[in-house]
Symmetry: D2
Subunit: 339 residues, 4 copies
């Protein structure tokens, strides 16, 4: 049995980790921590977890944590993980970090959009945990930077197309939509029921921090800089995320070529489902699962390819992919515990 611990267990992504790991067949969840809820049973914070997890939230202490844990999940606000992770590594613990702190190989990029990085050398060696595309590196990684939710939808859809030369690298637009849980459990007017219900709008139209993350991975896949236009929106639903991505087919390429490239890439990947011609992904089909559904359409007049990609933002977009990363790191069945 792998011994796992969660640092920051009481946000939405932390709670999803608790839910999954507490019944994972190959994992024993040994520690959960929370500053805000120290001393409180997790089932008091999330009554849905009672009879499922009996753990009590602890304060985080590197030494006592590392003594009981093989793999740590850090489900914390950006900036905190880069202070904590070095100690975990010293303590012999491998890490799946759900924040942005270890997603960038180009630390300067991170610093432009977030803040100064206090553990840049770790970030440079960390592995970007997009499971289906980076499996081999993840297997042996000491630190996995678990991808952002928007990047997961866009990168799973576009990386194979760029690599195979099916689409042009310029002029890509992603019109993306997320359920409200993506904003977390913290209180804000935008997450107030009466403001989000029956609402639909764009946000962060002047630049969302997931854009540089997406561009770094697309650029690496393309072998040259890729810039995209990225506009996120808020769906009046709790969970789910859909990106509708507009790109231009390379000369002579067709929707069918795109379908083939994706099919080849994901043939043996359980969690990416390619929809057949004419079918569209729906967040309803992926909610409460770790699947990413990808569908295609094209506009012959303009030569545009439309790629639609849907996930559950809390699972494949966060905690589900984190568990999948742990499964890969630990040599388990990639699907273990991900029902």
């Amino acid at each position: 049995m792998i011994k796992a611990g969660i640092i920051g267990a009481t946000g939405y992504t932390g709670a999803e980790l608790v839910r999954m790991l507490s019944v994972h067949p190959d994992v024993e969840l040994t520690v959960i921590t929370s500053r805000q809820y120290e001393g409180t049973p997790i089932s008091d914070v999330y009554p849905a977890l009672s009879e499922r997890c009996e753990l009590v939230c602890e304060a985080f202490d590197t030494k006592t944590f590392c003594d009981r844990v093989d793999i740590a999940f850090t489900a914390l606000p950006h900036k905190i993980p880069m202070d904590i992770v070095p100690g975990l590594l010293e303590g012999g613990v491998r890490v799946v970090d759900l924040s942005a702190d270890f997603r960038f190989r180009n630390v300067g990029q991170y610093e432009d959009w977030y803040q100064p990085h206090t553990a840049p050398e770790i970030s440079e060696q960390a592995v970007y945990g997009l499971c289906e595309l980076n499996r081999d590196e993840i297997r042996t990684a000491r630190v996995v930077g678990n991808p952002g939710c928007y990047p997961t939808t866009i990168l799973l859809a576009l990386v194979p197309l760029l690599k195979a030369g099916i689409i042009k690298a310029d002029g890509i637009i992603s019109d993306s939509k997320s359920g409200v849980s993506g904003a977390g459990r913290g209180l804000s007017l935008g997450s107030h029921f009466c403001e989000a219900n029956e609402s639909f709008k764009a946000y962060k139209v002047d630049g969302h921090r997931h854009r540089p993350e997406i561009e770094e991975v697309l650029s690496a896949a393309h072998g040259a800089d890729v810039e995209i236009t990225f506009i996120p929106h808020l769906i009046p639903a709790t969970r789910g995320m859909l990106s509708t991505i507009y790109c231009t087919l390379a000369d002579g390429k067709t929707e069918e070529d795109a379908r083939k490239a994706l099919a080849e890439t994901y043939d043996s990947s359980h969690f990416v489902r390619l929809r057949e011609k004419g079918a569209v992904p729906d967040i309803l089909h992926v909610q409460h699962t770790n699947f990413c559904d990808i569908g295609l359409a094209s506009d012959p007049r303009s030569g545009r390819l439309v790629v639609m990609s849907a996930i559950d933002n809390l699972l494949k977009g966060a905690s589900g992919q984190a568990v999948q990363n742990m499964n890969i790191m630990a040599g388990l069945d990639e699907k273990a515990g991900l029902y």
Copy 2:
């Protein structure tokens, strides 16, 4: 033209008042105040109101307020109105107060559930603004205590039945359900979209402050103490309120007698709609209106009468009824401005 002002214009009930009064044919909205948003145009706080109301939120000052206003709406948290209203009256302004401060004739009851009252003599002379039942007193009132939302559903349904002796006064249960806007615009975990969406639960099961308000009016109607069991619930919808009220038919009385008593009471009342036999009120039918829909069912085996009563909690349950009260006070058409 009546000159109206709103003290506390930026909560949900305040904003509804602005929305209605800014197009009311017989009213000029002259002042709106807000502590939090002093100096900010209301249309910045509520973009829905732009091109509808150009007013800027002011700090409240008794003198300058009274100079420009005939009737004031106080849409403030409990406790503040009792400090402000005496000054408004001295300034010659009539008041519709949307808080609980002036709903009780029995000030002791208020003090048991809220806090010490600093203007008890005003409260004792204020009129309870349940329009359909207290029209005559409202006409000449200087201060109207605008009813709570739950009380409005229950009292409009039960007072005529109690007065006509159709139902027994004991054993009444109201299982009531409210949209989330009833909790206001303030931030709380219970109003977080991800906690309220796809949720349904009871709350304040150990005693909600609307219960004494309901009981005072029922007792007055019955001529003796009436005690009810009252359990409120939260509906995953923005607006709307439904009370399902269980009572016992008096000996020899029938559902048809109840229907007749209600029909007679509300025959000439535009805003109370009695549903015919077999039809049920639905919050969908009253949303964005000032109507109260009442329906009846009965269980012949137990002699129980089931009364269902639906309103929009922000309109007939708050701001709509407040405007209706103003219309009555000012001798206008009761429906004016209430489309």
Copy 3:
């Protein structure tokens, strides 16, 4: 491995069965049938099931079905199961029926509310599949009548209280609320998004067919006839059900006595969670699980006990409880496959 088949796999309860049984550790799902979708892969009907279940819907044929199945789930409209089940039993197949056809020991009662029964002797010997209360009989049952959703909420809450004499048997009221999926996947104006969204209303106020089912079991528990008032409502949510039940404490009994009686009954029952004093069940806490959450409140003035009981109507209220029944019948861990 138990071989299981589902007759009627394409309604909401059928699809939930497919979802669970396709990853159940001790079960092989061998056959699924559908008249409407014969020849269609279930993953075309429910794209959410792709990569999870590769089965194709078949027409139902008793012989070929029985050859491949140990336990059958009949997820069909009332009336069809009573024609099919005799053949299944002859074929040596045990049955969990999700319709009302085998819920009644008193077949006359069934016939009053549904239609003439064509297999009354089977119905009389069938076991009512309320797992926590009828475990022993279920273990050896050939036919289990899987309880209705409303009955599950009410009976799990009240049977222990009645048996222990904590509450009086008369005057019980259940104000119950269900998510829209309870009405099934068939098209109707009431299930149209624009009619159900932001809506809340009672329905079937003149008598819902779950009432006699509830009363039969309560009466058996009490040892004398019990009649209840039962008013169902529709919640604008997909899944979840809450019953708020009003009863009267027996002389000298308290809320604490009720809590003890429930705690003793469900002490070793994983799927019933008793909420502590002051906590209320929320459908959000049980969605996508097989749990039933029960909470208590009381009104000392009236001697009333308020019992709140929440489930996911598609799981503990239908398919989850059906799997639990199968687990018990097959001698498996009661929780197997019910994550």
Copy 4:
């Protein structure tokens, strides 16, 4: 008083017309027709309309209809209006048609996407009822083709920009999102609550019939053919529509130029509200109103302009704009009856 009639009053757009016209200060609603509900009071079909409109649905008969009506609203499925409208015109009645039958000047385009047109000469002379842009022609029109909902969002946003040469005419993409009411009141699996709730997906990705309507008007504004990519999506909300439109700024043009061009165009148009820099339209702000909110963002790296445009699909996208058209045709205040 203008005498108005509605042909097809029982769909969602018909009901909205009834709601508005029954309290319109300058209009008497004299006739409503419905094939399905002939003889039924509209308030039985829509209980929300009781005490608001006492009319009973009639069968449509040209003669008796024309005798009582000055202006007709045809709120019917495509194809029916082209059979009915010629008779209305002969009867001296002016028409606002809410179907697509009279939206196209190029009848061949209509016939490519819908069906053969039986009144092409009327269609060629009809006026496209985009109020803010075609006011003068609408004033004297005998037949107004009321715009589609998606076209309204896109055309109000883009026509001024194209005319002023702020954006390039090629490469325009509209990623559009609509509330479920856009699909009408007819029953379909896609409008089933459990399929639409908590769902989000694209639809008609191979070509939606609003695209040629949009392109015809854009082409006329541009003076040359304009082709767009248009992908509609479904929002899990009853009402509201948002288009996020991606276009390319013409050489040397800026977001500020775009803002100025829109401001000049809509300066005296009450119902188009231009959001200031940084603010985004939200369907919540326009629900239950006739406003269209437009916001702008730009991506300096790519030279892209992002135009966001929000309406209530049933009001500015259908019945509200129809009433606005009637107001213009009848020389009334454009805002009359549109609160």
